[in-house]
């Protein structure tokens, strides 16, 4: 029983960052109709920024988190302006090929700059875990969870309460009408991509100190983010939030009770089951199959 509760607790903590990854990806797809293959690399970029800032320049841990997120926002905006802004209105396969190209360039740049060696980042939290009865969780993970929840909440706030968010939602519903109402679609695209990339970078910056930082870390993150958005339905933000937690629970329980070697396969198996049962995703309303 204690073991089960421990698994559930671990899953909840992990689910926060998964949701963060999924929301970024699903936002970009929903508003821009772009399958963002660079998402995992932005995640790795956040982690490497964290390493450079904390371990090489000695910047304060919390300041570094903010800076890494902002750098992710800047890189995302740069990718959008340089590569995607010329392709507005292009079909989904075309942008997908460009994003695959960008993904290869980014990943190999990371590999070239940092080499393949895994790096670790110190964190300022006490080494002994937070213990509550039979349960224990490291302080670092508690912080990661709280920070992820705060970021998810701010994303919801931006989308639902601000003027920018209103313009984003309008673009999502009907880009032509939105444009006629004076929404600058181009800027909304840049802002969306920057926001989504910032969320991915912040997830990397948060998880970098928990795990190790390596050039291929982005691939797994991207694969999981894809699984999450399929679970929730592409373009569905609430779906991505819940999907993040569902994937975390399935992985944690699957690794605990079935086989830890197949931990990373759980998400894919989940996708296949979802497709058999409900191809539109768990939380889809309508218009989900492109």
């Amino acid at each position: 029983m204690g073991e089960l509760v421990q698994h559930l607790l671990n899953a909840t903590v992990l689910g926060g960052t998964y949701a963060l990854l999924g929301i970024g990806l699903t936002l970009i797809f929903g508003i821009m109709r772009v399958v963002n293959f660079t998402h995992g690399e932005l995640y790795a970029f956040g982690a490497y920024c964290m390493y450079a800032l904390v371990m090489m320049m000695g910047v304060n841990f919390y300041v570094a988190l903010v800076l890494a997120t902002l750098m992710g926002v800047a890189l995302g905006a740069a990718v959008e302006v340089l590569l995607l802004s010329r392709l507005r209105g292009a079909d989904i396969d075309t942008t997908m090929l460009v994003m695959i190209g960008a993904w290869i360039v980014l990943q190999n740049t990371e590999q070239l700059v940092w080499s393949g060696v895994a790096l670790s980042i110190h964190n300022p939290f006490p080494a002994e875990p937070f213990v509550f009865g039979p349960l224990s969780v490291s302080w670092n993970r508690v912080f990661v969870f709280l920070a992820a929840i705060a970021l998810i909440a701010s994303t919801y706030y931006i989308i639902n309460k601000t003027k920018l968010g209103k313009a984003m939602r309008a673009t999502f519903q009907d880009r032509n009408t939105a444009a006629l109402m004076g929404v600058r679609i181009g800027r909304i695209h840049t802002a969306t991509f920057a926001l989504g990339s910032g969320l991915a970078a912040s997830a990397g910056a948060l998880l970098g100190p928990v795990f190790v930082v390596a050039p291929t870390m982005g691939d797994m993150a991207a694969a999981k983010a894809f699984a999450i958005v399929i679970l929730g339905g592409l373009g569905n933000i609430t779906g991505a939030t819940l999907g993040g937690f569902i994937l975390a629970f399935v992985e944690e329980l699957g690794a605990g009770y079935i086989s830890s070697g197949y931990r990373d396969a759980m998400g894919f198996l989940l996708i296949i089951i979802i497709l058999l049962v409900k191809p539109t995703g768990l939380f889809a309303q309508k218009e989900r199959i492109g």
Binding site: I104, N108, A223, G261, L275, G290
Partner: protein, 346 residues
């Protein structure tokens, strides 16, 4: 005349082992040829039905592993008291099994994943390849996991006393060429048939294709089966040439290589994957001459892919065809103008 020059090219390629003595170059030609076959098979899906399958390497890898395992034999304990074992079989049979198993997997995947289209299909196909890779890593009893399957036998054909071995590079090169030409002809015949026209119709406009009575899913699954079987053939050629196979064969970069070959050459054209394959077979060797890191090579691939999408969105072959057609039109127009003006012909 135009009909014969592809055959002239085949004859030229067939003569290569007679005059090319550099085995390193021959090795490059063999691996390029194998990847060309894989790219041709991807083109059937990507170019003719318009489905971007990013899990294509799974079929290649399944062909490679099946062929290796049937040739080596295996013994697996499914349950403590239940064992499946297979004695080593001849290599030609193993390769055939590689093709068959890859084709059957293609059928299952086609049935499953063509419930969805577009971005969903792309992600499902990636997921599928990743699951297969994880199985290859973790099912150590069957696949040896990261330790790899070693000592895979080379292909020999014919009866005792009259055996032809494909261990040496010139012989294997000819085998790859024969298989490549057969695959090319199969694809050419297929896309020219009723089924091929149905595929192109649904690529152009799926709703319209459906409304005139084309069973869309049926033709998509057909294309997937043929494509998967062909990729499995490429994989089994690869496995009996390199003679070692490990889970890295399922890496996403190989799918990306195939996609780049098809997109650069021209998707939906017969010659596209051949041209793209030749180009991306040669580029690494040219880059090697400049002694650059593999990371830089991949960065160049990525940049090339972006540039192709921007500047040659339909690929090399359609661009060249357009250019030639345009020139023909221009010369024809000049001739007509000269004739009309009554000027003496140049």
């Amino acid at each position: 005349m135009k009909r014969y020059w592809p055959w002239a090219l085949v004859v030229l390629l067939a003569s290569v082992p007679l005059w090319l003595t550099d085995f390193y170059l021959l090795h490059i030609l063999i691996t390029t040829g194998i990847f060309m076959i894989a790219a041709m098979s991807l083109n059937l899906l990507l170019g003719y039905t318009g489905q971007l399958s990013l899990g294509h390497v799974a079929f290649f890898g399944i062909g490679a592993y099946t062929s290796a395992l049937v040739a080596l034999g295996f013994e697996v304990h499914i349950l403590p008291e239940y064992t499946i074992s297979l004695a080593p079989k001849p290599v030609w049979f193993a390769m055939l099994m590689g093709v068959v198993v890859a084709g059957l997997t293609g059928y299952a995947i086609g049935k499953l994943s063509f419930r969805v289209r577009g971005a969903y299909f792309v992600i499902v196909s990636i997921s599928f390849a990743e699951v297969v890779r994880l199985v290859a890593v973790n099912w150590v009893e069957l696949t040896q996991g990261p330790m790899a399957l070693n000592n895979i036998p080379a292909l020999t054909l014919g009866a005792a006393g009259w055996e032809v071995s494909f261990l040496r590079k010139p012989a294997f090169y000819s085998l790859v060429l024969v298989v490549g030409v057969i695959c090319y002809i199969v694809i050419a015949r297929l896309v020219d048939s009723r089924a091929g026209r149905a595929m192109i119709a649904l690529r152009e406009n799926e709703s319209l294709a459906m409304s005139v009575g084309i069973d869309v899913t049926r033709y998509l699954v057909l294309a997937t089966v043929v494509s998967a079987a062909m990729a499995g053939m490429a994989g089994s050629l690869y496995t009996h040439y390199i003679r070692i196979v490990d889970p890295d064969i399922f890496l996403f970069v190989y799918t990306v290589t195939m996609v780049i070959m098809v997109v650069t050459g021209g998707k939906g054209t017969l010659a596209g994957p051949v041209v793209g394959g030749a180009l991306f077979g040669a580029i690494p060797e040219v880059l090697r001459a400049f002694a650059i890191a593999p990371e830089v090579q991949w960065m160049i691939y990525g940049i090339l892919m972006i540039l192709v999408v921007y500047f040659l969105p339909r690929g090399i072959i359609p661009a060249v065809e357009d250019y030639l057609a345009g020139r023909k039109k221009r010369t024809q127009a000049t001739k007509n103008a000269l004739a009309d003006s009554g000027a003496p012909r140049p």
